[in-house]
């Protein structure tokens, strides 16, 4: 299986990076600093 002729195992590196950015945005939305 491939996306844009790139095997899915290689393309997953790009998917992981996108997931990390989305995760960081969600974390930022949920993060509540305790002492401020």
């Amino acid at each position: 299986m491939s996306i844009l002729n790139i095997p899915i195992i290689t393309f997953s590196a790009i998917i992981l990076s996108v997931i990390c950015v989305i995760f960081a945005f969600v974390w930022g939305l949920l993060y509540r600093p305790k002492d401020e």
Partner: protein
Amino acid sequence: MNNMLIYAVVIILYLLLLLVIGVISGRKTKDTSDFYLGGRNIGPWVTSLSYVAAYFSSVVIIGGGAFGWLYGMSTLWIGAINVLLGTTVCWIILGPRMREITHRLNVITIPEFLKRRYDSNFALIFSSLVIAIFLIVYNVSMLKGMGHIFEGLIGVSYIYGLLISSVIILFYVSIGGYIAVVWTSFIQAWIMGIGLITLTIFTLKSVGGISNAAFNLSVINKGYVDTPGVWNWQGLISYALIVSFGVWGMPQLLVRFYSIKKLSFFKIGTPVAALGTCLALLPYFNGAISRILFPSLKNPDLAIPMLVKSVLNPVGSSIFLAAVLAAGMSTFSSVLIIITGSIIKDFLKEGLKLNYDDKRMLTMSKITTLIVGIISIIIAIKPPALVLALTAFSWAIISSTTLWPVLFGLYARWVTKAGVISSMIGGFLVALIWMVLKQPFKVHGFIPGIVISFMLITLISLFTKKYGKEFLEAIYHKK
């Protein structure tokens, strides 16, 4: 001649911008807290993007392209692990906690944090010496990279390239301190982004898009698009770990967490830093695709410079040159100020108890920045073999010494002084000896360094005297 004029105009404008930032920052730098941490008053965008710029040096751009050319698209995983471990997880686990504790303890450097957290003068002196010595070695490689970039891309001699870039950096760091470092790094991150994205767009245009590029690459060798493909798992994983997890012990990056103005700024800073780190995938990607255009190269380091010359016009090439220089300069300046802090603030003031007033310390810091910079330039003019050999290991040695003491220092109350000291010495020695033995089993010194350092800090802490409750409350207890 016209091309040279375009290069000259773009580079001169860029360097002038850095000088102006240096002068403005100099006016805002009134004391040592400003010089080393910008008065802990830095915003989320500047903190996060200056982190990205300090993370990626010109060596990463040129070397990443070389890795991409050699091993193909599997190297995209190095960039992805950078985004995951080097930024996202690092910012979430270390960032807020480090900002909170260092602010409470009123410490401004990593060795100072280790001293206060573990009540150990040895931790301070040992870590400050390791950081100062091995970051100078690391800086020599930055300078060398910048000299070669001038030489390779616009034909200016190595020495002139080295001098032009380093003199500008020395000016703005010694005048403006940390404020100049973060603001120039912020601008440099944008230039790096524009340069790398421009190169990627034009590279894809020249090879007919991503699908075509991947197809043509797989025709040359299917291993160039597969993972691990023509590489191997242990090589790929260990390299990705070194340049991602290793960051967790690198003071020039961790200091960004000290200086951010408010804890709430991590809400914006973390996603911006993660997004910015995605740029790390581009040198590998472009390097991999460059194999279609240049199936054989004598030196893989030429992959990116040749790609630039081949797909970009002179304006694009000059922007990319500025981007690569920006990458080198931002890392060099970030490292330079950490070395100064280790020598003046940690070793002389805290370690040897030199009690000078703040104004005198500030002057000494500025002069030391210049001296360290000049020493780095002199070594970089003709680096001895030992320095070159140490360069590849400087990250590993510093990280093996400081990574676990910093991480455990933020979270683990049960870690003992004996555990920390043995971990620092053990991690340092193992990484160094591994280098002297020329990497047995082809494993990079970082891996045994952090494994031994982890074992020592956990095992020895189990059997040695713990810190008192009152001492720990002062470190961890919130007001």
